[in-house]
Symmetry: C2
Subunit: 790 residues, 2 copies
């Protein structure tokens, strides 16, 4: 056994030797030389063939050892064949970002990329066209970086897990909490990133992550690496998976990433039910150009701490055989050789994984030579004036007005005296959140106010990370004394909410409320900018009559300060909507982060606006500088037959079939031109009890509605808009009374009825019997989930 | 109201203006000029008077405004009187340390101080003379820094809260979990720091912190700033307070620090029951040279988040009136002016607080001119050869041998081939933990092994902070392949356990167990160094037959690597004992960190070795390179009359009265000379049920017992050794059967009986009626403690 082990180590060691040395040996990343290299006359270089044929031909040229070498996120390539090294791990969450595969220059060309807001703020814009435009800029810049051998062609974005728990450190990476919203958003995003839903040559490959039920970093000893999410089929199908269905089934995304956590006892990267039964079979994601990567070292975590296999090769084989094609890390390269020699994997599966990788690269034009599409993009296409303007627009569109006693919009002219106080007042890279690359500039609120000619009295804040110190306070009082208007810009940043770092509380951190409260007692016009991705409980600000206004500004990217002041001054009137529920601070003491159920249960409150009704500000909330009213065109009928709806539907996936397109005529009844986000919710008593308060089914942002004028939003409802999920995960239509509500405090309502029998429109693949939810599941040696009440 | 507020701000602003500008205006820290300055002919400069008289005279010279200015941790002084600025906030936890009052030079003289191990490792030495020696070095170096105007004369050390919960991020700052151990340790420490228990001129003033029941940083939204510790009188008197009693009553410490948390509903800094009834009255800590400071911004926290007062001046007044003399921060300076004008405080109390401060400085020779004691100390007294040797000795004495199959001691000669792997292998400042100053050198395990002539194959580890990455693994396998012996040096550091950052799990972090397990499979001699202050669950290492040895090395200070290899090679045979329980990883899932009870209750396990019996390695555990046996001299009697014991006791504090001095004859039965820590535990069924498993009552470290030789330890038992605490906090003697156990797996046992009636020997002051423990206590707006089971 020891001898075998040693020899296998030698194999891995060989692989690594290549991986470590290819750069210094002049063997670098780059496009394969299909003109003069060893591959020139092989099928992979034959652009007349389809990607599968080309990739298969390539893989047939490799030895087993060479194949095993290409199973990690850093593929050393095959020198004898002129197959270059390739790094699969590239990031571009909200712009091309630092990562193993992305290499920014220290100065000059390629020293920056456009840095958009974090997705949570772009989600708040409820503007899918904006998302498509942003994603197109990101993929354009990514291609320019790739052409300079500074990035790969696949990017591990988007993070499309629903932002269920306000504590989640990575919620800022997502567009919000609502599964329909995320599904619609990601559909537009993938179009922009990949250059269409089925292009001949993809712009880049996007990667939907983290599949699935991943939304915990660490909470009371429940680390993401070992957490076993207990989710029933109803919640899985209804809440956790729709964005992924949108990625795979509806948007043809090129890649998926499985997650760190286990789902009902099986680490997702080793879960063939998830990766094969649902993802590939049920969603029809069967193209061999599509691959699954593990989250980084998630394969290692299958062994430890998940303890899903007794041996390391066994853990690697479990992930590989389940359908995880690429291991982010070196665990495959280190342990698959033993797995192969022990018969735990076979070469057929090895070929399949590699064909997926290289057919994906083929589809990206990797083997098509310098005349291929997108090869002409250069740094001149990075950070263009229009891209920079789009970054500003994306931020301004998302900012949400939560409170306004009339102080806003604020006239700021030369010499307007403003105290700008708080840790976000002179924000720099905290405006970029995480997964960031260098930006050409970072315009803080301070810079933006000065650019407007204001006389700014700036003071740093009392510290956002929870450790108050009054040492920095006296400049605060001086600034407040010296100014006519007080703006406090604080909240949280990645020192409080971050990857690996969930929050433990959602109250304003540290001494901020003390400082805000004291500033409010000055009796001067005062407003608060609540910054950060996750919501804070701002009820003390909402309820303080001496605070005139409250804006949520999220994580606004390179031009965040400008965007905030564009909204404050009314240059861009606010029209963003909260993409997540703002919970009261007690919420985190009422429910453990590990609880995955959406519905209220005993003393556990429900999750998201669908099930929780004590929000400080609810999902979709957002004020304007004007007032809107709405009228809804009558729908075809007051009553619909379920059987007619289903029998008239000829789509393969019946939930996509049209139901009604509802025209909503929105009128601006005030005196300020403004965008308006038309939100359509369905509510009613139908389907399995309990019924949600309401569910978002469509939205459309209208732009620049002039005072006294109106515009019409078209809300395209489908059978999915009406459907509910039963306890086995089946999607069905149910008889009952339905209401379509326009906006959170409805401006208009349409009622109608569905008649006939309950009819399933999507039969959900059932988990293996052994996978049924174990209420007393226990991860050996790592502690079970804390249950507050049983 | 606004006018008043504004004028009060002006006062505070004035104070701050001085505070901010005194340095730049040439008005700096330094000794008052009692020869030629304005104070020269005043009473404070009259060395013939007592400190109280002198300080009172000084305070009588100040205006009210000047007095209010001197209530923060940075006193601006009084320029017109030539009273210098003084910074109270100086740190010296395990050597003079960076802090507002301590200023290291960038190079040359005063660019470093001796950096001892963290207290948790010094505690493991169970050697009070060592602690006295270390403290003497620290106070000597502190005086040298003070003479160069680089430090103050008071230091905010020790942290003497018992290390109750293994998650606590600051447990490393304490000597361990046992209240007797801490009381004995701190008694020696204060002697060394202050230069005796009642010296005419103190070397420095020590500050016992954090008073009291502070041992949480943040846990699931329970931040130290708002946490309300619910502790009954029994646990308070028995567990949380003994070290503080040792400080105040038995060691005459110069200062106390109240803590962030509340205790049974009252923030400790505003708690006159704690600061007056217990500390000053019950413990006789009535000298006016003794003062209480708040932890930094703990006064601010009285307002928010504790919400203990409705107004900020009210919160400041509550703390001030309760006995908090100094506010670390600026909250007093900002809000006491309003408190005074509103009649919430009076000038008498203001005088008292300032007299305490300045009589303390007087007692330190501050007003005694350059001929005063300790004024001759210079940088030549810093980092002397003997001090550096003491830092090495302190580390080596504490290291604990947990497992050894005979591989240790290890012969290391020129060319011995060692793989040294892990994040602690080349440790630098992580060896210093927190509250550190620059050291002259930091000798890592790697350096130490190389100094021994070993052929070291070094590889960094897989990351200690919980985020595994296999990218760094292949060098690990190479190092292991290339060496004959494998040493893994890992564990945790201040990226995992830190101030403000409790752990959420106590399993080995990240991928370390995977790497360790794979290294063990090489079949080479292998050992593990478990580093860090808090314990990790090392049962997987204990139970792995392929791992030969396990050492716990704590946080070993500037010469930690040398100390580790001194123990490994047998140059210093191991004799340290675990100062805390090593709990299994499940423990943290079984009990919330907020639970303050010591005894098991329902499904909640007990805390510390006294109440918990499923330890991986128990408190006091530690192996040697030899075997010891022990014999105990018979005690006077097999039965004692409680009434006789009490009536023969003439001490003011009866618990101090002698009971028996037990002679323990310890024989070295093996063939390696070794130190031996003689631990004496009392066990038995007596007093209030339930009874603890056992309780440490005395210890003595014996040095260099030769093979075949023996030495005698003298364990001085007092009435406190026999006493128990009832549910009202009273200390009493109880009839029953007692056993004195020598060592954790007892080498010897003495049984005896106490007869007669239960007799109280310390009547505990009862809390005000309203302060009785509220089982459903709730901090408004901040969430209550999570209760797992009721």
């Amino acid at each position: 056994m020891l001898l075998l082990f040693t020899s296998l180590l030698a194999v891995a060691s060989h692989a690594q030797a290549q991986g470590e040395n290819y750069a210094s040996a002049g063997y670098q990343r780059g496009f394969p030389d299909c003109q003069a290299g060893p591959l020139a006359n092989t099928t992979v270089c034959d652009t007349a063939q389809d990607p599968l044929t080309r990739a298969t031909a390539l893989i047939n040229l490799l030895t087993v050892e060479e194949k095993l070498n290409q199973t990690g996120s850093e593929s050393p390539g095959v020198p004898r064949l002129g197959l270059p090294a390739y790094i699969w791990w590239n990031e571009a969450l909200h712009g091309v970002a630092n990562s193993p595969g992305v290499n920014f220059s220290d100065s000059g060309d390629f020293s920056y990329a456009t840095s958009f807001p974090q997705p949570i703020l772009m989600g708040a814009a409820f503007d899918d066209e904006l998302i498509r435009d942003v994603a197109t800029v990101v993929s354009t810049e990514a291609r320019a970086f790739n052409n300079d051998q500074r990035a790969g062609l696949d990017f591990w974005t988007p993070n499309i897990n629903p932002f269920k728990d306000p504590r989640w450190g990575r919620g800022q990476e997502t567009p919000g909490e609502d599964p329909y919203h995320l599904s619609s958003y990601v559909h537009a995003l993938i179009d922009g990133l990949q250059g269409g839903y089925n292009p001949k040559t993809k712009r880049v490959v996007a990667t939907c992550k983290h599949f699935a039920a991943y939304d915990i970093e660490n909470w009371n000893g429940n680390f993401r690496y070992q957490f076993d999410a207990q989710v029933n089929s109803q919640d899985l199908r209804e809440y956790y998976l729709p964005p992924f269905q949108s990625c795979a089934r509806d948007s043809n995304v090129g890649a998926f990433m499985c997650s760190y956590n286990a789902l009902n006892g099986v680490p997702t990267c080793a879960d063939s039910y998830l990766l094969d039964d649902i993802l590939r079979k049920h969603w029809g994601w069967t193209n061999e150009q599509q691959w699954v990567t593990s989250d980084c070292d998630a394969v290692q975590n299958v062994f430890l701490p998940h303890n899903y296999s007794q041996t390391r090769p066994g853990a690697a084989a479990a992930a590989f055989n389940a359908g995880t094609d690429i291991d982010c890390g070196t665990y495959y390269q280190h342990h698959l050789p033993a797995a192969l020699s022990q018969g735990l994997i076979n070469e057929t599966r090895l070929n399949e994984a590699l064909i997926r990788q290289y057919s994906s690269l083929t589809r990206l034009g990797y083997f098509d030579g310098p005349q291929a599409l997108y090869r002409n993009l250069t740094f001149a296409d990075v950070g263009t004036a229009s891209s920079q303007a789009l970054a500003l627009k994306a931020a301004a569109e998302g900012i949400v007005l939560l409170k306004n006693d009339g102080i806003l919009p604020l006239q700021i002219t030369n010499g307007t005296s403003i105290a700008l106080i708080g840790d976000w007042a002179n924000a720099t890279d905290i405006m970029q959140g995480n997964y960031l690359g260098p930006a050409e500039y970072l315009r803080s609120p301070l810079i933006a106010a000065q650019n407007l000619g204001a006389d700014v009295h700036y003071a740093q804040g009392p510290g956002g990370a929870g450790d108050p110190t009054t040492d920095s306070w006296l400049p605060v009082w001086r600034a407040a004394n010296d100014a006519d208007i007080i703006i406090y810009a604080g909240g949280i940043d990645i020192s409080v909410e971050a990857e690996g770092d969930d929050r433990v509380a959602i109250a304003w951190t540290g001494a901020q409320l003390d400082v805000i409260g004291e500033l409010a007692s000055y009796g001067k016009p005062m407003m608060v900018l609540q910054m950060g991705g996750g919501q804070l409980d701002s009820s003390p600000i909402r309820d303080n009559a001496n605070i005139s206004a409250l804006l949520w500004g999220g994580v606004p990217g390179q031009d965040g300060g400008t965007a905030l002041f564009d909204v404050i001054t009314g240059k861009t009137p606010p029209a963003g909507r909260l993409p997540t529920t703002q919970y009261p601070s007690r919420y985190t003491q009422q429910i453990p982060m590990t609880s995955m159920a959406l519905r209220p249960n005993g003393s556990l409150p429900g999750r998201t606006y669908k099930w929780y009704d004590e929000a400080v500000y609810e999902f979709g909330y957002g004020l304007h500088y004007t007032n809107f009213s709405a009228e809804v065109s009558p729908v075809r009928s007051e009553s619909y037959s379920i059987q007619d709806l289903v029998s008239n539907c000829t789509e393969q996936y019946k939930d996509r079939c049209a139901f009604e397109t509802v025209n909503v005529n929105v009128s601006n009844d005030g005196d300020v031109a403004s965008d308006y986000v038309t939100l359509g919710f369905i509510a009613g008593e139908f389907g399995p009890a309990p019924c949600p308060r309401k569910s978002l089914v469509n939205y459309q942002r209208l732009f620049g509605i002039q005072p006294g004028a109106s515009q019409t939003a078209r809300l395209n409802l489908t059978l999915a808009s009406l459907a509910r999920v039963d306890d086995r995960g089946n999607l069905a239509l149910y008889p009952g009374d339905y209401s379509l509500l326009i906006d959170t405090q409805p401006l208009a309502t349409v009622n109608f009825t569905l008649t006939g029998d309950e009819t399933t429109i999507d039969n959900w693949p059932q988990p293996p019997a052994a996978r049924s939810l174990a209420s007393d599941y226990f991860v050996p040696g790592y502690g079970s989930e804390i249950v507050l009440d049983e």
